[in-house]
């Protein structure tokens, strides 16, 4: 069960159980101490009385003892005393009990018994001890502890009520503590998710309480500042590189365009036009290399838009249809329904275009472009029926400027698959090369909503 695995739930449960145990220990201790105190007091009183009566007995025998018992039970002195003197035949000689309690045996340890005092119509709990005398006579000395025990009962009931309230409070305290921790950590998790989804400006809210959560927030924010700075540096570097290389290329192109206008012969025009095309190809390579760097660094997530990938695939297949036909291929879209996803439309389009272009350059037969949803993921694939790429060569094929022997004779810079892999990474996913038996199967797999988890 997910809840039981939750650290915060376990923490809350631990807090609750500890508070419950604390309340239980407190209740038990109070009960024990109260009982101990009542027993100790009753024992002290009965001891004192027993000692006085035994003195009477030693001084004047059974008669003096009987007198002593009667004296002790006078209303002015009784104060809850219970006494019973019986002879060897269990005949009552003096005392305020009707008969000797059968459960109390002389020389036994003192016990608390429920007995009726003479003239009382309610039984009472009495702490009593028995003293054996000569000729089988016995003396019971005791003290009524009914009211003390009743008080203890009331105290226990009050304490059980208190514990019930304490349990409720403990549960509330545990729940509050768990919620507080969850809230403090949730803001950190939300920030991390937002950053992973491309919002580099997000920071963990800090309250300057200087506790451990605050320290965690501050540390994460410092880390995010550093990442932000590195991303900015990368953006400046790639922008600078683009600008510094595009300016001379702009001059080169404008010079060639003017030369093209001035050309008299067709041959010269064709040569200059080829030079312009080569310049454009060089620029396209530079653009792709920069795009790969930026995509790998996660730059561009703020450009994500919600689109239907099925529509994108169908559109691309329609664009490539005539070219495929002219080159002896067949290209089809394999779509079962809408495939909604948040993507960088331009980069994903370029990546898919590269994969289709590769299939036409190195593949054969039927090219299938498919898109489908699979749980939280979307899967876009391009398959062909050409020679494919041997498993041992797949890593090389994905490397920037990596070119396999079969590709050396064809135009290209070896950036197509590398860009597709970088775009998959930007979308929090991956690119997989597989066997289409026969042919190559290239799969882009990523989260439909990249905010749900990023690479």
């Amino acid at each position: 069960m997910a809840l039981a695995r939750s650290t915060i739930f376990r923490f809350a449960a631990l807090v609750f159980l500890l508070q419950l145990a604390g309340a239980g220990v407190l209740l038990g201790t109070v009960r024990l101490l109260t009982h101990h105190q009542i027993t100790a007091e009753a024992e002290a009183r009965t001891d004192e009385l027993r000692r006085a009566l035994i003195d009477d007995y030693r001084r004047g025998g059974m008669r003096a003892l009987s007198d002593g018992v009667r004296q002790s039970l006078l209303p002015a002195r009784a104060q809850g005393s219970v006494l019973l003197l019986v002879d060897g035949g269990k005949q009552v000689l003096a005392g305020n009990l009707a008969e000797w309690p059968p459960s109390l045996i002389a020389a036994d340890a003192p016990a608390t018994l429920e007995l009726f005092r003479t003239g009382r119509d309610e039984s009472e709990r009495i702490y009593a001890s028995a003293v054996p005398l000569s000729d089988g006579a016995r003396l019971l000395v005791g003290h009524v502890v009914e009211s003390e025990l009743r008080f203890t009962l009331i105290l226990e009931e009050a304490m059980i009520g208190g514990v019930a309230v304490a349990v409720a409070l403990a549960a509330f305290a545990a729940w509050s503590a768990a919620r507080l921790i969850h809230r403090r950590l949730a803001s950190t998790v939300d920030t991390a998710r937002a950053v992973a989804a491309g919002d580099l400006a997000r920071r963990v809210p800090v309250d300057h309480s200087e506790d451990v959560f605050d320290a965690l927030g501050v540390t994460i924010n410092q880390m995010l500042d550093r990442i932000d700075a590195l991303m900015t540096e990368l953006k400046i570097a790639t922008d600078g590189l683009a600008h510094d290389l595009r300016s001379p290329l702009t001059r080169l192109r404008s010079t060639l365009e003017r030369a093209l206008e001035a050309c008299e012969s067709d041959d010269a025009r064709a040569s200059v036009a080829r030079a312009i095309d080569e310049g454009d190809r060089l620029l396209a390579m530079l653009d792709t290399a920069l795009r790969i760097s930026r995509a790998e660094a996660g730059l561009g997530r703020e450009q994500f838009v919600a689109i239907d990938l099925a529509g994108m695939v169908e559109d691309l297949v329609e664009v490539y249809g005539p070219l495929a036909e002219d080159n002896g291929f067949e290209i089809v879209a394999d779509i079962a329904g809408p495939v909604p996803a948040r993507v960088h439309r331009e980069l994903l389009g370029q990546a898919l275009a590269n994969l289709i272009d590769n299939a036409m350059k190195y593949g054969a037969g039927r090219i299938v472009v498919s898109a489908r949803s699979e749980g939280r993921d979307v899967i876009v694939a391009v398959t062909d029926q050409g020679p494919g790429i041997a498993e041992a060569q797949r890593a090389e094929a994905l490397r920037r400027f990596g070119r396999l022997d079969a590709a050396r004779s064809k135009a290209g810079a070896g950036l197509g698959l590398a860009l597709a892999a970088a775009v998959a990474h930007l979308h929090g996913g991956r690119l997989e090369l597989g066997d289409n038996a026969p042919g190559l199967r290239v799969v882009l797999r990523f989260h439909a909503d990249e905010r749900g988890g990023a690479a």
Partner: protein, 230 residues
Amino acid sequence: MSHKILVVEDDASTADFVATGLAEHGFVVDRANNGRDGLFHATDGSYDCIILDRMLPGMDGMAVLGALRAAGIDTPVIILSALGSAEDRVKGLEGGSDDYLTKPFAFAELLARIRLLIRRAGNGAGAAPETRLSCADLEMDLLSRKVKRAGQVVDLQPREFRLLEFMLRHADQVVTRTMLLEGVWDYHFDPGTNVIDVHVSRLRKKIDEGHARPLLHTVRGSGYRLGQDG
């Protein structure tokens, strides 16, 4: 009356190329080589179009554009920039520019975009939308979605219709592959080898085959042109 264009570009070679080319096509051109001078010129409101480099010394192109728009000057502006990612384009267009062209560019493309912006500004709001487009004996009815060449119906696929519509709207101008990708397919990426060429070549077959004078021409090193003379 010739149109006035302001070119704000710090790279002398690029500025020369653009200014000379525009002058050859009948435009009156003023130049500024930094943002402050560009803003000073632009604020007199006498230009039909402003070509503004994004990275300028002193005052950045986007800042010049912001100041212009804040001052209520709505002259069409084309941003020229070495930064060509989707993000850069969106920033440029959101910053108030009417178009965004990435360096290096084909002059023909710049020219076509300038003309389109000037025409749009001239039409203004309230102008009746066009229902027919034509070039020589080629006619397109936008309401019935019918195309005729010399009175004969030409059967076109929906995409071919849009491609021809784009070419007709830019008749007698060079349109580059980039312009077609953006205008017809709404693609801001390069689908690679010959994809556009094949579509244009199929369209050419349908509108020119069997006719003495071809209308759809390839312009070497630039793109295509729909017009009467080769």
